[in-house]
Symmetry: C2
Subunit: 344 residues, 2 copies
DNA sequence: GTGAAAGCGCTAACAC
DNA sequence: GTGTTAGCGCTTTCAC
């Protein structure tokens, strides 16, 4: 590789000092427009790009944000958060350094140490499912924002999906299609995600004077849980016409039982999931109408907050706590009930 | 945050020079065991950790590997590669800097520039589906390994799944269960992945004196493609008893048609997919037997190669090209054919 | 308006 | 064995 061109090469070529080059390129100081332009042109011709390592050492700021996540390899969720964070970071000249712990606190601590040695300026602390976290002590000294989790005892800003809104959106969609006997299937895993969706469902049903029916089984919230809870629901509410599922894998389980019993989605049974896992929702037949989770947006939001916090001595006063709205993704699993046998 | 402790703090506290501290911690030079030990203890007590930015500037080596991928957000594949790479990197004191282009060459070029400014020591150039790539010119100067793609015109080492082996493994499994009328469904998208699996299937069938049947439709290789090709297969080979599917989403499509026609998996129809996408394969009923792709292993391999190449003036002579074996993941979609109506 | 020079925290010749 | 010192490439203060 040709040796990288440095600031002094540019200075020599432009016939000015390194100071002038630095000022010309960073927009600092008072340079004549002519000099500035000249230097920029020369730098461009030489293909100069500042060495960020040297710059970081001098400025005591690396321009790197550490991204710590509990896992990255089972769903595409992490990818969506990273994508949002990366886009926002690129717009601001920041770079992301990813690290993941596979839910092992020891590994996590080591990874955080590596990032600290690397002089990262700030941290994104991301979870893949909405729960409660307390931050590792090591993060206390740097701007940190928590993604897809709440940090009740700490002072870090956080961003999560609006879970109650999800329950409301799904239930209202089913109501709007004319359904009255709508059940919600979920899991026994108290936490903001499960509880919020149940609450949104219950409230919306109550507002319409309808009786809520919630069925749960122990975690995990997968297709098998969907099958079990749906069968329980059918036994208890035989004339149900619609199901709001905690997530897409559970909805997949409902499709399976429906097929087995000769129930046709959406004519005999309307279904709404949550997650918008393309790999499931778009592959089912008919496509699954589902509520999308704002992973991309949460990633963006985190970097937007951090970039304002970096270099701000008052950063720790940022205590924003945001719930992001979740869009309904229409596919084909909701229709009007075939025969509305009257009020519930 | 308390000011970070530096090497000179350790030197003062230990009553030695910074050189001695540097040597004691890096294992360089000749120090008396006593001094070395003493310094290490003091450093530990002070919680000293070297500033890698300063070290990088001085050594002209950042310890960072740039990880460039075409996409990270639609399947968990990227996550698995990253995981493997990260584990291997952590073992070697390397850190990963991820960047992804969403298949946009302009974005990719910019991202690579950022990594270069950051003085990364080497690159992983990863694709999410096995194809052919030529490397961006910018990568020419640094050790680079290509993951899940081949680099026919370049000199970079690469690692890919053994696609022919996948076709063979799947076909042999079906043969071993007693099937003879086995079809392969795939897509019209020539490339190592599609072609290799077809070849492995054809060869294995030929070795057993059986007639191969391959059905394809245009991309994408999703459930819809699975439904179409399977219906075509049924029309052409009505007494088929087993299907080897190009990937798991296509297999999902086959389940759908099978359910519709009252065919029971695996009793009336055995199925094997490829991908081991948990989110599909483990959620189908019965679980889908599938051939797993070695994403984690490919990520590890890439870093292992790179770490040997970093700092080796002869690095460009590394032209390893590896095809990694792919494991059969047994779930429940393969059984013996119900009635073997004789030879094909 | 422009430039000289002092470091950022570390490593590695080299001297003792 | 241990210490002195000269940078790595940049930013920024301060002098001109």
């Amino acid at each position: 590789m040709a040796k990288r061109v440095g600031i002094s090469d540019v200075a020599t070529a432009a016939g000015v000092s390194v100071t002038t080059v630095s000022h010309a390129l960073s927009g600092q100081g008072n340079l004549s427009a002519k000099t500035r332009e000249h230097v920029q042109r020369v730098a461009g011709e030489l293909g100069y790009a500042p060495n960020r390592i040297a710059s970081a050492l001098r400025r005591q700021r690396s321009g790197i944000v550490g991204f710590v996540s509990d896992e990255i390899a089972t769903t595409p969720f992490a990818g969506r958060i990273v994508l949002g964070a990366q886009d926002a970071a690129a717009e601001r000249g920041l770079l992301l350094m990813l690290v993941n712990s596979n839910r092992d606190d020891r590994v996590e601590a080591q990874q955080i140490d590596s990032l600290l040695d690397q002089q990262v300026d700030a941290f994104v602390y991301a979870r893949m499912s909405h729960g409660l976290v307390s931050l590792p002590a090591k993060l206390a000294g740097l701007p940190t924002v928590v993604v897809d989790a709440e940090n009740p005892d700490g002072g870090a800003p956080w961003v999560v999906p609006d879970e109650v809104g999800i329950g409301r959106t799904a239930t209202e969609r089913l109501l709007a299609a004319g359904h009255r006997r709508i059940v919600h299937i979920s899991v026994d895993a108290p936490g903001p995600g499960v509880d919020g969706r149940i609450l949104g469902y219950r409230r919306t049903m109550a507002e319409h004077g309808l009786e809520p029916h919630v069925f749960t089984v122990p975690e995990p919230a997968d297709a098998s849980a969907g099958r079990e809870t749906f069968e329980a629901a059918l036994a208890a509410v035989p004339d149900l016409t619609a199901v709001f599922c905690f997530n897409d894998p559970m909805a997949m389980g409902v499709y399976q039982i429906a097929a087995e019993r000769g129930m046709c989605v959406p004519d005999d049974l309307s279904l709404i999931g949550v997650d918008n896992l393309e790999v499931i929702a778009a592959q089912l037949r008919p496509g699954l109408t589902t509520v999308g989770l704002p992973h991309y947006e949460m990633g963006r939001w985190a970097i937007e907050q951090l970039s304002a916090m970096i270099g701000d001595p008052e950063w720790s006063s940022n205590r924003s706590q945001v719930e992001l709205a979740c869009p309904l993704i229409e596919r084909g699993s909701v229709a009007s009930p075939r025969k509305d046998t009257g009020r519930a």
